[in-house]
Structure formats: structure tokens, C-alpha cells
Subunit: 306 residues, 2 copies
């Protein structure tokens, strides 16, 4: 099941994307739950949503308008991994070096955005970069869970472009200021529920820029699996429904590294992940992005108001 | 003016602490604003609050019950500084070394707590430590503000104990897992509004543990001033009303370093800051802390419900 949050004239509502012969249709789920986060955390509501999808006649549903989609969830917290793919190592490290522990950082709420939010290149930023990532959405509170039970706490998967300002990232030991500019965490377009992702360690993560594939690597090459990461984080802190844990980015392909240039206004980057979908993020300058930058189009709690 | 959030039988409400001859009294401000964050961000509401305090007869107000105080604000984001006091340097660095840029990290919402929240020592944690800090509370949105105008965006000041698990902090380059255990950011007991803090670079930060002063250093010895830090952060991201920017901890006094032992269940640590107040945090084991650990006593939006 693909879950979305979509905007209407009087607020945002949860919905499911239902395939029809001629394309995707939208099934409103506002009668089942007030938000996707509520839905994910409530087994009975999820069962109702599945039943509603199964009972629906796709041809009678409205065509999905991708322009109405906002961030599928507004996470309480977003934790991200660095250097989690084999072959992606810090500058100066041995290419085969593997860390003993995941390197974890935080993206703040001002970074959160959806599939239609433009991302402004901050004034003076000279080295803004993209990172295509599988983002895990928590469905059930996780507190000191074992590796074996960790995936039971995962509601589903979405896509994150972990936009990063490398110049700021290099200025201090901690990466926060390189990771937390407004709008630097667009997610979406939807959450694919975990039952539709048979193996999170068998997904192909690709990034397309200017028509060229710049990243192409399977999650089978991660150092730390989704199950391990959820287990690991939950030893330290409590993960709550709607929280996002992003699993890191693969290294760019050699050819892409050679021609890489920092992102600029007018660029578009597509992250596509097999079995999940694709997320295209357009970059703009601050002066022209105005109110559509960052998470300003998503209500903080994303409750349905109608 | 000292602003608090206090819990009642039917929710939490903003209030002001009004001194009387025999101790502090509580003036409810629920009629002025739904929460302290709303109050801080609304000049008219702040004027009403000040007028209400000025017009109040302290002797007719209820005695302040410190046990009712919860976190004065529930921040949208909390950004913290490392190594911001002269003499406090990373392991291995020259004692006189001074960074060119502030080192900034994030504490996640699961860490947020108030003055009466117990902090659980996580199971197996062997090196939990305290850090006494001046925490700046944002009152007005700050986006690329100059140093000169930065303090206009500060609503006031509170106290943070930036509790840290040094063992986790040392395991990876990023400090998040050492900083983000549940309840590891108690703040309070109140916010002193900026007009009552004539110079944020002239505050004495002290920590008292087991009756001994273990930290005692003035904010005049910070490397980066409050004004600079707000300016600096606002170049990268937008600070919103209620956000907290914490200014780092001084190094422990030499005698305290010699006898330092990690925090354990049963310990209590008091951070006191001249002109602001004092925050005592009690540490407990997870099994006995139950529902009072972390931010569980604070409603997420802290809106008054009555």
C-alpha cells in the first residue's frame, strides 16, 4: 500500500494511491485517521485502510494529482546515517575502511519538506550536494528492541534527498550546519508499507541528474542493515511512530564524481528506489522560492481539518 | 519577568512568577496566551502579560508550587554548541586552541524535559555526564540576521543540563547518540525575559554536585557570544519562536575533574546561573523512573486546555 498526505482547500488529509489501468488514483483515508502518522501507529486503522483499498473501484476514484502531495509524514525526529554504503568513506579514509558503529546525525524540522517543495540554495552557498536515500518510517514505538524484532517497528519506506551544504559541513566537527538549512530534507512522494517491501536490503538506489545516472547501488551493500540500525538506535533513544531513520547514501559513480558540480538554482535531482518510487527535487534561489520553500506547505501536525 | 509553564488537573498553562515578601507567587497567564511559546512570539500578548504582572497584588496570588513546573517551552528545535568556553577544548587539543566556527549539534525532541522530570541513566550506560548551560530562547523568527540585530530575536534565557553519554559520544564522529537519550535535555525552571538579563555575556554559570561547586565560569569567557551565535546559525537555517540555542558548557574545575565519576541513579545535579535561577536534575534508573522520565509530563504543544 502506498500512503500519501495530500493538501485540499481546507487542510491536509491522508490517502492511499490505488493503481488503475490508466494510472494512479487517489483514495481518501481521512475517515480512517487524521494523519498518516496516526494511521501508521494504529493497527486497526491500518486494517481499515487496507480494507478500503481492497474494496475500492479504482475507476471510480479521482486521478491522483501529484501536485497535491506534501510530505507523507512530518516526523517527530529525523535521524540519518553517514557512510553506510561500502565504497563511501570519509575524505582521507581507506576505501575499504568500515566503521564499527553507524555515524548518526540529526536533521531538524525546518529541513522537512515534501515532493513539491522547492529547495532554495542558500545565499552564498557554494557547495550544495544531493544524497539519495532509503528513509525508514517508524510505525511502532521502538525502545531497546532486538535485531530480530526491529523490522516489526517499521511501518514502511519512503525516499529522502539528504541535501547537504558541504562547505558548512566542513567548517566544524559536527555536520549539523551542513545538513540543516531550511528545506534540506524533502521526502516522498509516498510511504510504501513494509509488507510491500519484501527485503529492505535488496533495493536499488539511483540518482538521476541532468539525465545521467550519478548513483546506482543496492542496499545489499550497506554496512549496517535497516534491522541493525533500528536496533542500534533504540538502545540509545526511543523511536516513535512517524519518526524517520535514513540509511545513508551510496557514493557517486566514478564518472559522476568527475563531472560533479554543486547544485544551483534551476537544477532538478531525481532519487529513484526500486519498489518505492521516485522523488524529484527542484532547486531554486531564495528570492524566487518564496512561500513554497521547505515545509511551509505542510501543516505541522498534518491533521485533516475537514 | 519569569515565565513558566505549569501543569494543572486539565492541562498545562503559561504563567509568570511574581515575587512576594514570603516567596514566589504564581500569576496565571492562560487568558493571555495558550502557551509560553505563543506568548514569547506575540508582542501584544507580552505587553498584556507585563501589564498583568504589574497590576497584580502578589499577596493575593497562590504560592508557586515548584512541583507543578514543566519545561517552560517545548522547542521546535534545540541547537547546542560544543567547546564554546575558553579552557574547554576537545581531548588532545591545545588548551589555548580556539575554533574558527562554533561546533553545533542537535538534541532531538525525545530529550526534552522540565525541572521535575527525572533523567534515567540508560541501561548499561557507563559514562553519563552533566553540562550546565545558558539556553537562549528565540522569540522572533531569525533568518540571516546581523550580529547587531541578533539579540532582538531573543525572548529570554533559561537553563539547560546538556546530559551526555560520553561512551556513546566517543563511538562515532557525530555526537548525536551521546546527546539524544530520552530525557537528556532538562530545561527550566523558567524563562527570564531578555529585558531582565542586561548582559548575556556577564552571567556566572555554576554546577553543584554533592555539595561541591564543580563548574564556575562566566559567560564573559565564551568564544562566541550569544549575539554572534544567533547571527551565525541564522545564516544557515531559520530560528523560530520557542527554539532553543544552548551556548555550551565551561570546563569542570580542576579539583572536580580529579574526583569526577559518571552520573548514577540517585545523583542530583544543580546548574545555577546568576540572574536566571537554578535547575536541579535528579537521575534515576530506568526501572524506577517510569512515566516521569523525559518529556512525558509535558504536552507536545503545551496549549492550555482550560
Amino acid at each position: 500500500m502506498r500512503l500519501v498526505t495530500y493538501s485540499t482547500h481546507d487542510g491536509s488529509r491522508p490517502g492511499a494511491v490505488v493503481p488503475a489501468a490508466d494510472g494512479d488514483r487517489l483514495l481518501d483515508l481521512g475517515h480512517v485517521a487524521g494523519s498518516v502518522t496516526t494511521l501508521l501507529s494504529d493497527a486497526a486503522a491500518m486494517a481499515s485502510a487496507r480494507a478500503a483499498v481492497a474494496a475500492s473501484d479504482p475507476s471510480s476514484l479521482p486521478v491522483l494529482d501529484p501536485a497535491t502531495l506534501i510530505a507523507p509524514v512530518m516526523p517527530g525526529k529525523m535521524l540519518c546515517l553517514g557512510y553506510n554504503y561500502r565504497g563511501h568513506v570519509p575524505d582521507g579514509a581507506e576505501p575499504e575502511a568500515e566503521p564499527e558503529h553507524p555515524d548518526v546525525f540529526v536533521k531538524t524540522p525546518n529541513t522537512f519538506g515534501g515532493p513539491n517543495d522547492l529547495v532554495a540554495i542558500p545565499p552564498g552557498a557554494t557547495d550544495v550536494d544531493y544524497e539519495g536515500e532509503v528513509a525508514v518510517v517508524i510505525g511502532r514505538r521502538a525502545q531497546r528492541v532486538s535485531i530480530e524484532e526491529a523490522l516489526d517497528h517499521v511501518a514502511g519506506y519512503t525516499i529522502l534527498n539528504d541535501v547537504s551544504d558541504r562547505a558548512w559541513q566542513r567548517r566544524q566537527s559536527q555536520w549539523a550546519l551542513g545538513k540543516c538549512s531550511d528545506g534540506f530534507a524533502p521526502i516522498g512522494p509516498w510511504i510504501v508499507t513494509a509488507d510491500d517491501v519484501p527485503d529492505p536490503q535488496d533495493l536499488l538506489v539511483e540518482v538521476v541528474r541532468d539525465g545521467e545516472v550519478t548513483v546506482s547501488q543496492s542496499t545489499s551493500t550497506t554496512i549496517f542493515s535497516v534491522a541493525f540500525v533500528i536496533h542500534h538506535l533504540s538502545q540509545v533513544l526511543t523511536l516513535e511512530p512517524g519518526d524517520i531513520v535514513s540509511t545513508g547514501t551510496p557514493q557517486k559513480l566514478p564518472a559522476a564524481q568527475e563531472v560533479h558540480r554543486p547544485l544551483a538554482a534551476g537544477d532538478a535531482v531525481t532519487v529513484r528506489i526500486s519498489g518505492i518510487g521516485e522523488l524529484t527535487t527542484r532547486f531554486t534561489s531564495p528570492l524566487t522560492s518564496g512561500l513554497t520553500t521547505g515545509s511551509t506547505t505542510a501543516a505541522p501536525d498534518q491533521e485533516a481539518t475537514a
